[in-house]
Symmetry: D2
Subunit: 379 residues, 4 copies
Amino acid sequence: MTAAAPENAASGGNEMTGAGGPELRELYDGFAAENLTPLWTQRDDLMPPSPAPRAAAHVWRWHRLYRLAQRAGDLVPVGRGGERRAIALANPGLGGAAYATPTLWAAIQYLGPKETAPEHRHAQNAFRFVVEGEGVWTVVNGDPVRMSRGDLLLTPGWHFHGHHNETDQPMAWLDGLDIPFSHYADTGFFEFGSDRVTDYATPNFSRSERLWGHPGLRPLSGLRDTVSSPIAAYRWEHTDRALTEQLLLEEEGQPATVEQGHAAVRYVNPTTGGDVMPTIRAEFHRLRPGAATATRREVGSSVFQVVDGEGHVTLGGKRHELRQGDLFTVPSWVPWSLSAEDGFDLFRFSDAPVMERLHVARTHLEGPEGPEGPEGDTR
Amino acid sequence: MTAAAPENAASGGNEMTGAGGPELRELYDGFAAENLTPLWTQRDDLMPPSPAPRAAAHVWRWHRLYRLAQRAGDLVPVGRGGERRAIALANPGLGGAAYATPTLWAAIQYLGPKETAPEHRHAQNAFRFVVEGEGVWTVVNGDPVRMSRGDLLLTPGWHFHGHHNETDQPMAWLDGLDIPFSHYADTGFFEFGSDRVTDYATPNFSRSERLWGHPGLRPLSGLRDTVSSPIAAYRWEHTDRALTEQLLLEEEGQPATVEQGHAAVRYVNPTTGGDVMPTIRAEFHRLRPGAATATRREVGSSVFQVVDGEGHVTLGGKRHELRQGDLFTVPSWVPWSLSAEDGFDLFRFSDAPVMERLHVARTHLEGPEGPEGPEGDTR
Amino acid sequence: MTAAAPENAASGGNEMTGAGGPELRELYDGFAAENLTPLWTQRDDLMPPSPAPRAAAHVWRWHRLYRLAQRAGDLVPVGRGGERRAIALANPGLGGAAYATPTLWAAIQYLGPKETAPEHRHAQNAFRFVVEGEGVWTVVNGDPVRMSRGDLLLTPGWHFHGHHNETDQPMAWLDGLDIPFSHYADTGFFEFGSDRVTDYATPNFSRSERLWGHPGLRPLSGLRDTVSSPIAAYRWEHTDRALTEQLLLEEEGQPATVEQGHAAVRYVNPTTGGDVMPTIRAEFHRLRPGAATATRREVGSSVFQVVDGEGHVTLGGKRHELRQGDLFTVPSWVPWSLSAEDGFDLFRFSDAPVMERLHVARTHLEGPEGPEGPEGDTR
Amino acid sequence: MTAAAPENAASGGNEMTGAGGPELRELYDGFAAENLTPLWTQRDDLMPPSPAPRAAAHVWRWHRLYRLAQRAGDLVPVGRGGERRAIALANPGLGGAAYATPTLWAAIQYLGPKETAPEHRHAQNAFRFVVEGEGVWTVVNGDPVRMSRGDLLLTPGWHFHGHHNETDQPMAWLDGLDIPFSHYADTGFFEFGSDRVTDYATPNFSRSERLWGHPGLRPLSGLRDTVSSPIAAYRWEHTDRALTEQLLLEEEGQPATVEQGHAAVRYVNPTTGGDVMPTIRAEFHRLRPGAATATRREVGSSVFQVVDGEGHVTLGGKRHELRQGDLFTVPSWVPWSLSAEDGFDLFRFSDAPVMERLHVARTHLEGPEGPEGPEGDTR
């Protein structure tokens, strides 16, 4: 037998399945009976020239999410079993699964006045980001952590955690987890904890911050590196100041920003300088009024939330207006860029640590004005 | 509102969906309209107490695979487009997808006399393991690599490769790849190369072996660590000798084996001592006649192939007889153990590097006689 | 020939040299003529049972150092060639070399009113610690860095740096470098820079602090790890607060201190979580009034400076009273412990990163009350 | 006071010491009384523009060493206390210390017929290299290791070891250790062991080789990385074959050698791919007849031994003829190059791991014809 002509092999296989006569049909039936599948009929789909994600680039509007979350607050109790009043972004390309992207979970969680979400722990890594509101404490392995606007709060895998609302007002925030990856790869463990949180104290600063929240300093009682960051709360005050300084340094002609008018920080584990958790990267981006980013493609997926200001995102060539609280997903290899009306603040989380640790990360950079701009392909 | 009773929250949510009256129905319709999904109705499924894989522990019989592969050799050409005459294990729990496990691809590839499989490259990591036969050379980035019984041959991501059969006999072997992970996480790139292989030479040893195949020695021209192993071929001669020595050392009372009567080696990247490729671990296990392993549960999934001898595997409590060439899958957290009739040789590959790099690996060890034996839970 | 009796071989060798008759004398003369030396006559000295440092545990009094530095300020100009008005601790055990320990340099540097110390750079790693005073800026690779009481200022290898005093008062501080190691191992490079500092601005915060001094945050413009810390100034405000919080947490019953009443931080490189420079570790220790540390022996050497309070150090069994500014050295494997009269603050630097990177670090812990206390030997 | 003129500061300081009048003399006396030393009088020596080693580039002739070693065999017993009949290269620049370079010890060790060198262990890392002879076994942590021509044998820190000669012929070999570094940095520990070796068996292969000496394979019983290589013996057979293959590959037009006609391997720890021990690098170099290397300068020091063939080394511009067994030292930053008469085989060891781990390594490459050739400066 000689090698088939290029075009024939794949489609030929497909054709044969249908039209290929009784012998081929018998072969394919044999495959099916033995739990086998040929490569040649599906190679194209399984191994595309570049990532062809099923997940969609999609925008969710915060005011609609919030309204539905409020309604859920009226109708659905929070408690043991369901555990959380969290409403997840279900990517329209992923067939109804409660997944923002193949690897990432993003949800709005809503806690009514005086409510408690009971304690549990799971192997899945989790964080909360607070786009508005205050008055809730999350208790992580017994350490009460205040949740306020602009804060990033971590609940790394296998840490017990519950939440309680001290106030007469409801509060809602963004939950991010690696539930989809964990479900896909069968890595999850889950345990119930206390029905109430173990400590109802409401300190301004968690013990983790008091021990770890000093720049460039490490307690001698904490010399063993930890898989995830030991800092439970990354406060808005620090994030805001870091971004402000980057833009001021840029004005002074110093290298400080990612690109003109675009300041950004990554939240890191102070014991390693690396990502806060092994499967999730968290960053904060700020654009000056009128600034625009280059267009990037990256292997791996992200979720962004607008924290302040107004602007646009261009996702796969389509432009979307964005306001405070709005969320959007960027699937693998979909080109994206941001532009700011006035000052524009965005929180971002992604599965980049997965891609980097498995050495499949790639980034492609186009210029801010499209393919004419400076380009680069890093692998 | 107070916290719901433990049982009510989750099931209650479900109930409410159906029976919850018009208000709840309206809420859930609102979720659907906005591409949202509540956590509380599916928390149990998404976050089980321990991994609850959909993938099945399943055994495929080599003689049946081989017969179907032969038949495909008669009926289906190999060539550009379909690229390879490879027939993949389709795990019965994974809905017909050509996946041995959620992360791993395993296929029998069949190349007829004098055939050539054209060159291509892809971001996906690949290897071949030869359970029987000889006469094919795989050409990896221009380096011709002989394929013979017992050899492990690597084709790390983005290396061009094609195969050609020099003989008048067909040859079949096991292909292993991370296609399922790559497809899931949208990390794949693919490029066609030469329609013929770039070098039809048939040396006994590849250039990579001549440069890198000397124990404990590293060429000064190769001081930069590589993501994947630079060794293209791991020869049976070395594997067999390493296992033989372990069993002899055990007889001499020296620590050498994994457990009594169980020798094993891991194939490694000599530049790091770590796994041969960032997403795939490869090992070879040998049991003495009559020996049995402890029962293990591990996070992550594996595929085994019997290379020689006869024995049994107990998978999730069910015992299967095994002969040369037979393949079986071990999904995440399914207990497994092996026992040997006579000498029993098995090749294994797994996604363990993914689990370890993302810090979700766990192993649970039961004794060879079940839960009464020594136990351990490592995390 | 049979093996010699234990005692005879070494000393016997020595004896033979002198009294051993003409044949042996001829042999030893032959060695000398060929630039050879026998091991057996000096094995004991070269390879002692445990480290037998020539360097002494010694205390230097700040008020005496300061008075001599003042006098040098009157008599010795600062400028190109000599470069710095720095007066080094010369360990009495090291034969007059300007070395505090075999690996570490410690000096008091004195800069008169309006003086400038010209710019240069060297492969040697350097830092300054300010025990008192203010008004000097050090300019590191063009970035002006304020020097104030309690601050640690870094000048990692091959960074240009100069200092200038803006005030009408002199200022003195502690310089720490790895000059002895560099001189010993022949690793040093040196280059002159500008005769004046390149930037006479006097900002409160260096650009490095504005970019890097935010806890748990890393600029996206600084994702490449650096060998030494990118933070030029570790401010007293942060160090003091970190130590205060550790003692408060201890009072609340939380794990935070090294041992009862003993708070401590390590200064770290935020890109890695490791030491600030590859050859020098820097730490700050605070003891509550009345507290005492355990007695430790460590491989490697340290220099301490008292920053505040009064107390004692016990060095190799000998007790020394300490006041603000006093310095002392701890050679390898010499047992040391601290006790506080009132609150007791000490800055410490050491060659511990060298010991750890070369895998020769060992620590032995005795109890605070001597050998009856809890012990440990870590290797 | 204003800054001094460049030339005046340093020399001025010196001058002042002598001629500077009573005030300065009093100041310097004050320094001396307080164990202090000024920087400005010695900055030039302590911090030269580039490394200015005291150690000399020097050649020792094997036949002279061997003759003296034989004579020592007649006159000096081997046994407890002196421990070894080892005669060390004493670098003529290092004031008579038994140091080949500031960091490295190199000695010829001589063991007479049927002699035993008793067991001991020390924190110092050690190896033996055999330039000629056979018949001795070294017993490392109880594992008997045959010593034969061309073999490298390891005794990493804190491994018990002794040697015994099974034959009626004496045997001599090269010992390499980090004694000078250990003595300098006060890191050494030493313990006596058994007066006789613990196992007088004479197997062809050590247990360590049987477990670890298989290319690209790692025993599952040895998954924990080790600080030093677990391979006790690197056999000539493998080294020779690796070098032969590199030269053959070069002839085939493949990249394999360091530079034209210059093959080289590094001995590595298979658990990491890095150096065999944390303080010592070991390599083997082979030049084709007539080949010459580029001229290199490197931070750190080396010792070479000619294992076979004849050629020359040019050290700091001076050419030396070399024959089998000859040894020479290359101090830090001294330019060196090799040229071969006929085939030329050299063993090399160095302190390069120290330099790299402490980030002070630099290499400067000149062309083989001097400064006109291609250059490079890597830092």
